[in-house]
Amino acid sequence: MRQIITALALLAVALPVLAETTAIVGGKVHTVGPQGTLENATILIENGRIQAVGAGISVPNGANTIDASGKIVTPGLFSPVGRLGLVEVGSSAGPVDSEQRGEMFTAGFDVADAYNPRSTLVAVNRIEGVTRAAITPSPAYPDDAGSYGHVLSGLAAVVNLGDDDVLDRRGAAMVVTLGESGSAFADGTRTGAWLVLRNALDEALDYRDHKGDFERGMRRDYMHSIADLEALQSVLTGTTPMLVNINRASDIEILIGLAAEYGVRPVIVNGAEAWMLASEIATARIPVILGPAQNLPGNFDSLNARRGNANILIEAGVTVAFADSLSLTHNARNMTQSAGNAVGDGLEWDAALRAITLSPAEIYGVSDDVGSLEPGKAADVVIWPADPFELSTYPDQVFINGVAIPMKSRQTLLRDRYMQTSSDLPPAYRD
């Protein structure tokens, strides 16, 4: 009897393993890895991980086989900035969990615990191929009570858009706002914003070097809380990147100097005038996250905004990640349109795909795990019926950590309800 139970137990363990093997066969696979692009290739997925990628790979018996003949297969898309899962309705409805006001925290504000994997935005974006996202705190402009945010908005996280184990990395970046936007949080001056940042870094250094004295009350008080100063420690070691919202070329020049001085690792976000300093940014190994369509000045910081910014930077060797050009978190999915437009403006197709998959993964230090189709990486895979950058293309199936997600969102439900033109019932009585 005991033996039988053991055998049954083994069976119970063995069966799900078999069921968790998936083979996507026959597609044109853009690995964005060393294997490049493979025709008629197989991707073998076991336990949520990519086991093998290549042509002529044998599919194990019992594997769930998905025919992708004639289809395009890419890694899942990585949204490089935004508030997915932190915001539902931005204006007058909430929740908005990306913004922090008041005196309690600046650098130490961490958005990770506010992420909601059941947000309607998650399904809307993942069925269109977005499988990972950096979720970033945003600078809070004054509310009705006049309370506003900070030059240091706090800590970003990396999440996957699946249903389980959604938090990939807490404290994935420190978000900073400088330039004209940052001046709003520093007595209205650009210089003030730089001083706030420098002071925060200086205090964090002082705290690091004199922690014992500080704890014994033998060190001066700091303007920042201990939580803030602790959060800055990995920024000072260059482990955690510093996402800097910045546009003007002269500010970028200052940033390059500051990065060298403190040994911090900045990532430029927006960077409207970054193209003017492409070689300097490349030399300083500073990545840029941008929406390639932003070609008009929002203010004088982006006076020289132009189309082609992204392509000039990539050409110079800068690591670039594309966001949706209108920076609307709800439509992070439109990063494929960004990629397609960059190609239309002359970028190589493969480089554009990299800018929405592997490059953002590298920026956040998670490229060992995601961003390309390589053995050992998480199985975030998208099967497209045609060129994914074309505006009329929508995914057939999206996998996140090897799980085929339901290709449904609140939007597809609304669509299906209102396309039932044959029903005489009021909509509320339809599906």
């Binding site: 369509a293 050009s325 349109q337 505006l391 939007q411 609304l414």
Partner: protein, 446 residues
């Protein structure tokens, strides 16, 4: 005697109105152009037709003919084989010039947020023609657009339709003969702006009460004018606000109503019914797909985004198929921008909807979809008799694309406005540069 004086005063008022019309009327003059023959193109006419390997002849600012194997002496011949040709793109929802780039506080001229009903203001009196957005829109194929006041007010003022040829002032750009529009707004914006000041409207029901009160005044003003016209009493003193509203009641000014939710659009159709005016188009209309049949019945257009949603509660039910479902119901679908960035790619926004519709088995071919950004907006602006399609005698507002306009990789190669070459990709000798962009590193059209 009194009656006679009344008549005289009325006549003077009439003269003043005519004078006003002259005072602010279009002084647009087309750029110099010659005779152009575009040959061998895939042509989407905007009438729902597609012609392969077709020619188009432009002369004296007009389309002479669209057909096969055309010829013309002395024409500048452009070989468009492998390329596509469409009517000029028309954006029914622009704020260029009234919310110009750079978007500084000094450029915030689109919302007269000082009272919920400001029908007396005209957007054209805010338009800054040096907005670099006109040039980037041109590079995206936009040849005409409607510039609207913002949506803070229940009734925000008159819109203006312009040709996208930057001039020294708005009169240089005004589309000849185009009627004015009236911007109205439903929903969250007016109630938030005024409610937060403890002022009416503070609710959606307050919004509706506000529209009705304004129309009651307008009807009264119209009736007084009519009576005075017949010699029955003094004409009222000229009132710019009511003059605009009476223009709507008389069908001379077209209503463009910012409204997101299906329930609110339905109510606005009833407000129109109560006072005897027509809603020409709902703008944004993210829930138009829920009432496509009502829109078809009312002959009201839905001017929508391809995919904006969720940035506010009334936009929560936005779906990509919105325009397609409206079109399927034989209502008038329009893709609009409300954005200086989005305006540059209205063709791409349209393509997203085509793909979304195809996903559920609804085939919308290019010749049908192009109407959403050409002839349908022209209709909603009351300029469809003269532009919006490629037909003989219409204005030669034409875009030559370097491929299928619904591909993300395609760009406008040439843009003609009234037969003149207004833009050519990569040709700085042709392309305009606003004063504002002079001396910047980017220069002209990007």
């Amino acid at each position: 005697m009194l009656a006679a004086i009344g008549l005289l005063v009325s006549a003077c008022d009439k003269a003043a109105e005519d004078e006003a019309a002259t005072a602010y009327s279009s002084r647009y003059e087309a750029l110099p152009g010659g005779t152009t023959l575009i040959t061998g193109a895939t042509v989407l006419t905007g009438t729902g037709e597609r012609l392969d390997d077709a020619d188009i002849l432009l002369r004296d600012g007009k389309i002479v003919e669209v057909g096969m194997d055309l010829s013309a002496d002395g024409a500048d011949v452009f070989d468009a084989s492998g390329k596509w040709v469409t009517p000029g793109i028309i954006d029914v929802h622009a704020h260029l010039g009234v919310y110009a780039s750079p978007g500084t506080e000094s450029h915030s001229d689109g919302n007269e947020m000082t009272a919920p009903v400001t029908a007396q203001v005209w957007a054209e009196h805010s338009v800054w023609p040096q907005d670099p957005g006109f040039v980037t829109a041109l590079a995206g194929g936009v040849t005409s657009m409607q510039i609207l006041p913002g949506s803070a007010n229940l009734i925000g003022g008159r819109s203006v339709t312009v040709k996208n040829v930057p001039g020294r002032n708005v009169m240089d750009m005004k589309f000849p003969g185009a009627p004015h529009g009236l911007k109205m707004a439903c929903g969250e914006n007016p109630k938030r702006v005024y409610g937060s000041r403890g002022q009416a409207p503070g609710t959606r029901m307050g919004n509706v009460a506000g529209y009705r009160a304004a129309w009651i005044e307008a009807v009264d003003y119209r009736d007084k004018l009519a009576k005075a016209e017949k010699g029955q009493g003094e004409p009222p003193m000229r009132d710019l606000k009511l003059e605009t509203l009476v223009g709507v009641l008389n069908g001379e000014i077209l209503v463009h109503n910012h409204c997101y939710r299906a329930d609110e659009m339905s109510i606005m159709l009833d407000v129109a019914k109560e006072f005897g005016y027509k809603v020409t188009a709902f703008h944004h209309a993210v829930e138009a797909y829920k009432i496509a049949d009502l829109l078809a019945e009312a002959d009201t257009c839905a001017a929508v985004w391809a995919d904006w949603w969720g940035f506010k509660m009334e936009a929560y039910d936005g779906i990509r198929e919105n325009a397609a479902i409206v079109d399927l119901a034989d209502a008038c679908a329009i893709i609009h921008s409300d954005s200086a960035i989005g305006m540059q790619v209205l063709n791409q926004e349209t393509a997203k909807v085509m793909g979304a519709a195809a996903r559920v088995g609804v085939d919308i071919p290019p010749e049908r979809a192009i109407r959403w950004i050409t002839s349908n907006p022209a209709k909603s602006l009351g300029i469809d008799a003269v532009t919006g399609t490629l037909e003989a005698d219409k204005m030669a507002d034409v875009v030559i694309w370097d491929g299928d306009p619904f591909s993300v990789y395609t760009r406008p190669e040439r843009v003609y406005i009234d037969g003149a070459l207004a833009f050519e990709r990569g040709n700085e000798a042709v392309n305009p540069t606003t004063d504002f962009t002079l001396g910047t590193a980017t220069g002209g059209a990007q």
